[in-house]
Amino acid sequence: MIVPDVLEVDSLAKRYSERVILSDVYLKCVTGDIVGLFGRNGTGKSTLMKIVFGIEKADNKFVRVNDKVLLSQSQLIKEISYLSQDSFLPNNLTVLQLVNLTLNSKNVDSFLNDVILTPFLSTKVNSLSGGELRYLEIKLLLNLPSRFVLLDEPFNGISPIIVQAVTELIRSHSKSKGIILTDHDYHSVLDVANRYYLLSDGYLRTISGRNDLVRLGYLNR
């Protein structure tokens, strides 16, 4: 039996001058989890992800993987992958060059056996459409050996067919990883996630689904 990996974020606090963004946040994600993180604009969802990935400083934080506290950025990025809101792939490479650079050679063939990517293998990354680029970024990250993946707005600006493909990718990779995602496309998040949190007024609350989103004021009805 495979023992699941556990990511815990504890006592996380962040303020910008006098404004408290994140207050004593605790978040847990286990292999198999797809954690949906909701919150209005400016509530600190992206900040939370950047802090967990180690590219933004917090006033206080503990990030543990399997009870080991990860202190440095180099420790964090070994265990965690991160999809930023903005595209991040080196844009002077073709899709094929990028896939070869990113993945182990044994994984390349199965990765490229994909109807969405096949027509673009010799296309430079900077010539891909927004949806194709987002799909490539998400698929690459999910195929890295990290145990946890943070996805900041994976469904932003992509067509329904790609949304469906991304949802399937997330589901299939959650068998071997823990995934935390946030997106304003709350239908897709509710659909794909199996646990939910709502971030508001600096506090992270566990919620059970759509009814709590209405009750706590994230949705009108």
Partner: protein, 92 residues
Amino acid sequence: MRKLKLFSVFYKSTLSLSITFAALVALIGGKLGFGIAFMTGSWILSLYYKEQTRKNEYVYYQNMGITKSALVIFSILLNVLIGSFFILYDRA
């Protein structure tokens, strides 16, 4: 090996601006000027340009396990090494 390739891809992405700047300085200062410019202003300019225009690319390398500071230090050291070669070559 993969990490070396990643460092190399990053470094190549800074080279065009580095070389252009050093080549302009070389019009006045010759090989010595090229070497000094490559060791100093070239990397400052190219990393500043990267920071202003393609800052988010660092996230790719971080996802591959390489920190931003490692990339920056690697680029500076390589520029200093190449610049030194041109300075020594000029004096030889």
